[in-house]
């Protein structure tokens, strides 16, 4: 069971109830649970959306799109039913924050889903968890059942005539790409996780063709708190244009890895050196992947930057999913780059050429390079491949593979060059076969 950590600098909003037994519905209610949704029913959709807009909450799934605005895009009237879809596919390497929300505060996700439903006029919500999170699914399923039993979900909720809301829990089966919102809808419809052409955007044509709001689980879990504390109060917790707090998962070579709730704009350096206790075993910092594996790497001297979407953007990287991966001086960037690209190669859905073939060739080239068979031209080729994937793929996964690759080459080119002189193969990194491929005979 994941250990809970804490630090005095934390500002606990979504994590307020962590470790307090709030997965039990009575405890949740005792801790102000399901108050926000009742308030939302009273105040109506416009109020909800306004509070969300005022909160400055930006999507916690990675792209940082303002949540209130997203909700306001859903057409008021629609022939087809509208839906809320909670993205709990959490698969970006370095990210495990939704994990703890589902574990410790599943009702917050349920309540947030209901609030989103009220805001857009949906009567059904889906909570989609990645397939690996089976034990969390059971926790969420139980929470949903308890809520039904209490009349919080279902018909005439809270005894209010005509106010209905249903929640269906859903599970994936191992596919990173399914975290992408349109692929998520495909997967939920029982199909291959291939993204859809946009426009139309999900807010207009989404799940089963109906207008759909898709939010990350953490985004959704924030909604009840925002409605209770007021949008503006929430906004004030964070930095400019980046309202509130965020769960940051700090992993890798730090003394106290864990999921911490820090205000938006908090210093990355402090997060590493103070909150997470500094570099493990007294080693030196080499680099940081600041927001999940798709974000371009920062060098040790580039970490004086605030953890919010805009400041990270200015620093040439991204806040992403808030998964901060810390690398100490011992890490081989070549190996790290290979492990990163191998993931994207494995997870590319295969729909579009630049990503399908690009990740494959990146992986092949890096594998050979890593194994000591590289040459100088490979470095250029890797860069050429990544440059030609950037912005050309069907969905952002292609970019997610290209961006870190370009970052590694740009910032650590010399390390690649030195690697040519004396390769050090630490791990035989090629073991995972492409999905669906028959196992090769003799593969060990």
């Amino acid at each position: 069971m994941p250990t809970l950590v804490s630090h005095p600098d934390e500002v606990k909003v979504v994590s307020r109830r962590f470790g307090l037994g709030a997965e039990a519905i009575d405890k949740y209610i005792e801790l102000d649970g399901y108050k926000a949704v009742q308030k939302a029913i009273e105040q109506g959709p416009e109020w909800i959306v306004n509070e969300m807009k005022a909160s400055g909450l930006r999507g916690r799934g990675g792209a940082g799109f303002p949540t209130g605005m997203k909700w306001s895009f859903v057409p008021k009237v629609s022939e087809k039913p509208k839906y809320v879809l909670v993205n709990g596919d959490e698969s970006e390497p370095g990210t495990c924050k939704d994990h703890v929300i589902f574990l410790h505060d599943p009702h917050a996700v349920i309540e947030g889903t209901m609030i989103a439903g009220l805001a857009i006029g949906a009567k059904m919500g889906f909570i989609y968890l990645r397939g690996e999170y089976r034990y969390l699914l059971k926790i969420v399923e139980k929470a949903v059942a308890d809520a039904y039993a209490k009349g919080i979900l279902g018909k005439n909720i809270f005894g209010k005539e005509g106010v209905d809301f249903d929640i269906i829990t859903q599970t994936g089966a191992g596919a990173y790409e399914v975290g992408e919102e349109s692929a998520l809808m495909e997967s939920l419809e029982g199909k291959r996780g291939v993204p859809r052409i946009k426009p139309p955007f999900p807010a207009v044509v989404g799940l089963y063709g109906g207008p759909t709001v898709i939010n990350n689980a953490e985004t959704i879990a924030n909604a009840p708190h925002i409605l209770l504390m007021g949008g503006e109060a929430y906004a004030k917790l964070g930095s400019e244009r980046n309202g509130g707090t965020r769960l940051f998962g700090i992993s890798g070579h730090v003394e106290r890895p864990g999921v911490y709730e820090l205000p938006m704009g908090y210093s990355l350096r402090k997060a590493i050196y103070e909150v997470a206790g500094g570099i493990k075993d007294g080693k030196q910092l080499k680099a940081v992947v600041p927001g999940g594996s798709s974000c371009p790497v920062l060098k040790a001297d580039e970490i004086d930057v605030g953890l919010d979407f805009d400041q990270m953007g200015k620093a040439g990287t991204m806040l992403g999913s808030g998964g901060i991966v810390v690398l100490d001086e011992t890490v081989s960037i070549v190996e790290f780059a290979l492990r990163t690209i191998r993931f994207y190669q494995h997870e590319s859905c295969g729909w579009c050429i630049p990503c399908r073939e690009g990740t494959d060739w990146l992986k092949k080239t890096l594998t050979r390079f890593h194994a000591g068979g590289g040459n100088k031209k490979d470095i250029d080729n890797i860069q050429y491949l990544a440059e030609n994937m950037m912005g050309r793929t069907f969905c952002p996964l292609g970019d997610a593979a290209a961006m870190p690759t370009l970052g590694f080459i740009k910032k650590f080119r010399s390390e690649f060059e030195e690697y040519l002189a004396g390769a050090r193969v630490e791990h035989p990194l090629i073991q995972i076969q492409p999905v669906g491929e028959p196992e090769l005979a003799g593969a060990h």
């Binding site: 370095g94 495990c96 029982g190 996780g193 998964g323 196992e439």
Partner: protein, 169 residues
């Protein structure tokens, strides 16, 4: 409701499938959960599973296979009773994921996607499983084990071998 006579599944699973096929706005949505639950029961997604799920959801077998072959957790060959999935993705790699994998290989005497001769364990190197802050992490079937070392791993394996392991279903 597509209640299938002569189902290959246990009565509980069959009943669960009947229900799953009925709760969604479009019943095909039940496919991926069904595939997982079927795999949990049968051990893998057999041809019989494909045929029955296709029938239950009014799909072509081709559609079922297309979906099945897309998701990495679904397999068409039996795994061990306990499928040990070692994450080696970045956070775990930094904290010894590969060493753990090597250790498992040695202890179990099998490689990636191998199954021990007694059918008890199988081993798989997997991509990030969402436990990065508690790395290195391993999943045995659906159960998480984190902050592992080779020694702790041995204890985990011993627990399963002795039938003491948790089996989340």
């Amino acid at each position: 409701m597509a209640v299938v006579p002569n189902t290959i599944f246990s009565p509980e699973t069959a009943a669960r499938f009947d229900k799953l096929a009925s709760i969604y706005p479009v019943k095909r949505s039940a496919l991926i959960p069904m595939l997982l639950y079927a795999q949990d029961e049968v051990g893998y997604v057999s041809d019989e599973v494909v045929a029955e799920l296709a029938k239950r959801l009014d799909l072509l077998e081709l559609d079922v296979r297309g979906v099945l072959s897309y998701y990495s957790m679904l397999r068409t060959k039996p795994a061990g009773k306990y499928n040990v999935q070692v994450c080696t993705n970045i956070s775990c790699m930094l904290r010894g994921g590969f060493e753990l994998l090597d250790h498992c290989k040695k202890t179990l005497g099998i490689g990636h996607k191998g199954v021990t001769p007694d059918g008890l364990f199988s081993l798989e190197e997997v991509e990030c499983i969402g436990a990065c802050c508690w790395a290195p992490a391993v999943q045995v079937n659906y159960d998480f084990h984190d902050d592992l070392t080779p020694a702790k791993m041995d204890a985990v394996l011993a627990d399963y071998a002795a039938g003491r392991g948790k089996d989340v279903k």
